[in-house]
C-alpha cells in the first residue's frame, strides 16, 4: 500500500495521470461541504464557510467534504456514517473542534472551532485533495449500520425466502431480491412469517383448486346470502384456469402490498379517535368469520387480528369506506335493483386485488386511498435544524402525520462535576445559544450559593444575552432563507449574524441601520407573506408555549418581565397575535429591535462568568429567557460539585407541537411550519 492510500480514506482508485491530477486540483479549489449537524451550527460557532472558500452542499451526493462541527451524539454519529457512505468518492472528512466520530474513518483534517483554524484547515484539505484524490488502493468504507441482508422472495409465495437468487421451487418464477434488516423492515418480516404459517398446512401441488376451494370456504362462513353467486364464481374459476392463475398472482402481490402497508394501517388506527377505539372488534384479515373483542391471533391461520369498528364493517366488506357509504348504496341501487351484494361476493372470493388492497388503507380528505410513505427528513436535512429528525408520513405531497425527535437531546442525568466544568459543559452542549445557558448555569449556581444579584454584573450579562438573541434570530432568518431558497436572505442574515456575535455595544449600535433595512425589506418581500401567512398556526389551547412562539400568538409570556434589571433597562414586551409563521417572523423582527434597544441602554456585553461563591452547597433555581423561550434550571450542589440537575427548556415543549403542526399540510408548508418554531434539538431534554 502506497503512502498516498493512507492519507485520504475516501480517495478513488486510480493511478496518477494528467486528467486525474486536474480533477484533484479542481476538487480542491471547489470544496463543497456537507455540514454536520448543520450550517446553522457552524454559523452559531462563528464559522464563515464562504470565507474559507467552501460551498454548502444540500445532499451528500453533491459533497466532497464532510464537515463535522463539534462533538456528535451517538445517534448523530450513526447518521453521519450513512451520509459519508452516500458521498461519491473522492471524499474527505474535516472535523472541527471535536473527536472524529467513531463510526467513520480517521478524520483527514481536524482543527479547532475557530475561523482562523478553519481557514488553515481548508488549505490543508485543499492540498490533500489536490494530491491524493486518487490512490492506488483505497479501503472500502463499511459500518455495522450500513449492513443489509439481501434475500430473495417469490412474488407469489411469500413463504419462499432464499439467500440466493434463483427460481421458486413451487411455481418456478424468478425470485425477487429484497433487502432485509433495518428496523423499518421488521414489520414486514413478522407478516411473512404469518403467511408461512398459514401455508404450511396445505399441499401446494394443486394450487388452483386449492385457491378456489379456499375462496369458497371463505364464502360459506362469510355470508349466506351469496349462494347463487358463489356457484357462478366457482364455474368461472374452473372454466378459465389462466384466469385463476392471474388471481392467484394478484393475491401474491396483494400479500406483498399488505405486508408493506401494514405499518401504515396501524398509523391510521392510531389516528382514529377514542370514540372509535371503544367499539373495536378484531377480525382476521384472511378469515373474516373470526371475530374477537380483544387483540390476538387467528385460531385458523395464526395471523394477527386487525381492529375493526363494527359500524364500519359492512362498508369495509364491500370495499367502501364508511363515509361514502350512502353514496355507494345509491349507486348500486340504481344499477342493480337489489343485487347489492353481487360485487361483494365477487371481491371477497376471487379477486384479491385493488379493492382488497385499498379497503383497509386510511384515506385522505378527498376519499382516495393511496399508499402512505414514511419519509425521513433529517437529522441532516438542509431545510431543518441539524440533529432534528423529522419523520413524516406522506400521502402524495401531503403530510398525514409527523413526528419529531431530537438526536442530540441533552442528557441531564449527570455524574458529579465541578461547578466550573458544569457551566462549560452546559454552554458547550447548546451550540445555538451558549451564552444563555452559561448565564442560566451561573445564575442557578450563584443562587444556590445564596448570592444576591449584582446590578453591575447583571447589566453586562443582560447585554450579552440580548446580543445572543439578535444573533440567534438572525440565524433563524438565515435558516429560513435556506429552507425557502431565498439566497439573498441567507447571505444577508448570515453575514449580520457573524458580525453580531462578537460585537460590542458600539458595533451593535452601528449595525442598527443594517438590521432595520433587512427587516423592512423582508416585510415587503413579495411572496414571503403568502408563503408564511396561515402556515403553522397553532391549535387553540396549545399549552406551555414559550418565547417568540408564544408571543407571536399573543401570549404575554416573557421571563424578562419579572426581571428587575430589565425593568430598569426599560424593557417593554411586544407581541403579535396571529400565531402563524408570518407572525413569528414579525415577532422575531420586533425582538431583534427590542434587544438592540436593550443593549444600547445596558452597555457592553460581557460573557457571564461565575462570581466568587463562598457557600458551595445548596439548591438553586434560575430562569432565563433564552432566544427560544424561557428555560429554567434547578440544581443542587454540594461542596462545589453539581450533583443533580433539572432543566426545563422551551424546545422540549415545542418539539411536541410538531405533530399537530404538520398534520394535513402540504409538505413544503409542513416544513416551513416546523422551521418557524426555531427548534434547537440540543435544548430538548431527554
Amino acid at each position: 500500500m502506497s503512502e498516498a492510500a493512507t492519507t485520504l480514506a475516501g480517495a478513488r482508485k486510480g493511478r496518477p495521470s494528467i486528467l486525474r491530477r486536474w480533477v484533484g486540483q479542481a476538487l480542491a479549489r471547489n470544496l463543497s461541504c456537507l455540514v454536520v449537524p448543520g450550517p446553522e451550527v457552524a454559523l452559531a460557532h462563528g464559522l464563515d464557510l464562504a470565507a474559507a472558500d467552501m460551498r454548502i452542499a444540500a445532499t451528500p451526493r453533491d459533497a466532497t467534504v464532510l464537515l463535522i462541527v463539534g462533538e456528535l451524539s451517538q445517534k448523530l454519529d450513526e447518521a453521519t456514517a450513512v451520509l459519508y457512505a452516500q458521498m461519491p468518492r473522492p471524499r474527505a472528512i474535516l472535523v472541527l473542534g471535536g473527536s472524529a466520530p467513531s463510526s467513520l474513518p480517521q478524520a483527514d483534517v481536524s482543527a479547532d472551532l475557530s475561523q482562523t483554524e478553519l481557514m488553515e484547515a481548508a488549505t490543508r484539505l485543499q492540498r490533500l485533495l489536490a494530491e491524493d484524490a486518487f490512490a492506488a488502493s483505497p479501503d472500502d468504507f463499511d459500518s455495522s449500520i450500513l449492513q443489509a441482508k439481501t434475500e430473495y422472495v417469490c412474488p407469489m409465495h411469500p413463504e419462499v425466502v432464499e439467500d440466493e437468487p434463483g427460481s421458486c421451487p413451487k411455481c418456478g418464477m424468478d425470485l425477487v431480491a429484497r433487502e432485509a434488516g433495518g428496523d423499518s423492515d421488521a414489520g414486514e418480516h413478522d407478516h411473512d412469517h404469518d403467511h408461512e404459517h398459514e401455508h404450511h398446512g396445505h399441499e401446494h401441488d394443486h394450487d388452483h383448486e386449492h385457491e378456489s376451494e379456499e375462496h369458497d370456504h371463505h364464502h360459506a362462513h362469510h355470508n349466506d346470502h351469496g349462494q347463487s353467486h358463489e356457484h357462478h364464481h366457482d364455474h368461472e374459476h374452473h372454466q378459465n384456469h389462466k384466469r385463476a392463475h392471474d388471481h392467484e398472482q394478484h393475491q401474491g402481490d396483494d400479500d406483498h402490498e399488505h405486508a408493506h402497508c401494514h405499518e401504515h394501517e396501524d398509523h391510521g388506527h392510531q389516528q382514529s379517535t377514542a370514540q372509535e377505539q371503544s367499539g373495536t372488534e378484531y377480525i382476521c384479515p384472511m378469515h373474516p368469520e373470526i371475530r374477537q373483542n380483544e387483540p390476538g391471533s387467528c385460531p385458523k391461520c395464526g395471523m394477527d387480528l386487525e381492529p375493526h369498528k363494527p359500524e364500519e364493517d359492512e362498508g369495509v366488506r364491500e370495499g367502501v369506506p364508511e363515509h361514502d357509504h350512502e353514496h355507494h348504496h345509491d349507486h348500486s341501487g340504481h344499477d342493480h335493483d337489489g343485487h347489492d351484494h353481487s360485487d361483494h361476493d365477487h371481491d371477497s372470493s376471487g379477486f384479491m386485488s385493488m379493492v382488497e388492497v385499498t379497503k383497509d388503507l386510511p384515506r385522505s380528505a378527498d376519499g382516495l386511498a393511496m399508499d402512505w410513505l414514511e419519509v425521513p427528513f433529517g437529522p441532516c436535512f438542509p431545510g431543518l435544524p441539524g440533529g432534528l429528525k423529522l419523520t413524516l408520513t406522506l400521502d402524495g405531497d401531503g403530510v398525514t402525520e409527523g413526528q419529531a425527535t431530537s438526536l442530540v437531546a441533552m442528557n441531564t442525568s449527570s455524574e458529579e462535576v465541578a461547578v466550573e466544568t458544569f457551566i462549560e459543559r452546559l454552554a458547550a452542549a447548546m451550540p445555538l445559544a451558549p451564552v444563555s445557558y452559561r448565564l442560566l448555569a451561573c445564575r442557578a449556581i450563584e443562587q444556590a450559593a445564596g448570592l444576591e444579584p449584582d446590578p453591575a454584573v447583571e447589566r453586562g450579562r443582560a447585554a450579552a444575552l440580548e446580543r445572543e438573541r439578535i444573533a440567534s434570530h438572525l440565524g433563524w432568518l438565515a435558516q429560513l432563507g435556506r429552507q425557502l431558497s431565498f439566497v439573498w436572505l441567507t447571505r444577508r442574515a448570515a453575514a449580520l449574524q457573524l458580525e453580531t456575535q462578537r460585537a460590542d455595544r458600539e458595533q451593535l449600535v452601528a449595525l442598527r441601520p443594517a438590521l432595520q433595512s433587512l427587516i423592512a425589506r423582508l416585510e415587503h418581500t413579495p411572496l414571503l407573506k403568502a408563503r408564511l401567512k396561515g402556515i403553522g398556526a397553532l391549535p387553540h389551547g396549545s399549552q406551555d408555549l414559550r418565547g417568540p412562539v408564544a408571543r407571536a400568538s399573543g401570549r404575554t409570556e416573557d421571563a424578562r418581565q419579572a426581571d428587575a434589571m430589565y425593568r430598569e433597562l426599560g424593557f417593554e414586551m411586544r407581541a403579535e397575535s396571529a400565531g402563524d409563521a408570518w407572525a413569528r417572523l414579525r415577532q422575531r423582527h420586533v425582538e431583534i429591535m427590542t434587544s438592540l434597544d436593550l443593549v444600547e441602554v445596558a452597555g457592553d456585553p460581557e460573557l457571564p462568568k461565575l462570581r466568587a461563591i463562598d457557600n458551595p452547597s445548596g439548591t438553586g433555581e434560575a430562569t432565563v429567557e433564552t432566544p427560544r423561550g424561557r428555560a429554567t434550571l434547578r440544581l443542587t450542589q454540594e461542596r462545589g460539585q453539581v450533583v443533580s440537575v433539572e432543566l426545563d427548556s422551551a424546545c422540549s415543549q415545542h418539539i411536541g407541537l410538531v405533530a399537530d403542526l404538520v398534520e394535513g399540510q402540504e409538505l413544503g408548508d409542513a416544513l416551513v411550519a416546523v422551521g418557524s418554531l426555531d427548534l434547537s434539538p440540543w435544548e430538548v431534554t431527554s
Binding site: G319, V320, P321, D324, H327, H328, H331, S332, D335, H336, S342, D343, H346, D347, F351, S353, M354, V355, V357, T358, K359, L361, D366, G367, L368, A369
Partner: protein
C-alpha cells in the same frame, strides 16, 4: 410514391390492432384508456396519410385530425374523472371489480 401511403396505412393498421389488443386485454380502466389512445393514434396516422397523399388541398382533412386529437383529450379527461370517482367509491379501477359499471 404509393409505398409511403401504404407504409403509413400499415402502421396505422398495426397501431389499431395493438390498441384493440390493449383495450381488450387490460383489466384496469386506465390501461384500457391507453389502448383507446393507441387506436386513435392509428386513426390519426391514417387521416394524415390520406390528407397528404390523396387530398392535400382539402384542409378539412387536417381539421378532422384536430377533432380526433380533441377527442383523445376529452376521452382522457372524462376517463380519468370516472376513474377518480370509481376509485373513491370502490377503492379500485379494475374492470373485473366494476360489477356495477358493466351492469
Amino acid at each position: 410514391m404509393t409505398p409511403v401511403l401504404i407504409l403509413a396505412l400499415l402502421t396505422g393498421a398495426i397501431l389499431f390492432g395493438v390498441g384493440i389488443y390493449g383495450a381488450l386485454s387490460q383489466t384496469n380502466l386506465v390501461m384500457i384508456m391507453m389502448g383507446v389512445e393507441l387506436i386513435l393514434a392509428g386513426a390519426l396516422v391514417n387521416l394524415v396519410a390520406f390528407w397528404r397523399f390523396l387530398h392535400p388541398e382539402v384542409y378539412a382533412g387536417q381539421m378532422f385530425v384536430l377533432v380526433v386529437m380533441t377527442v383523445m383529450a376529452v376521452e382522457m379527461a372524462v376517463g380519468f374523472g370516472v376513474a377518480i370517482a370509481r376509485f373513491r367509491a370502490k377503492g379500485s379501477v379494475e374492470m373485473e371489480e366494476a360489477g356495477d359499471l358493466k351492469g
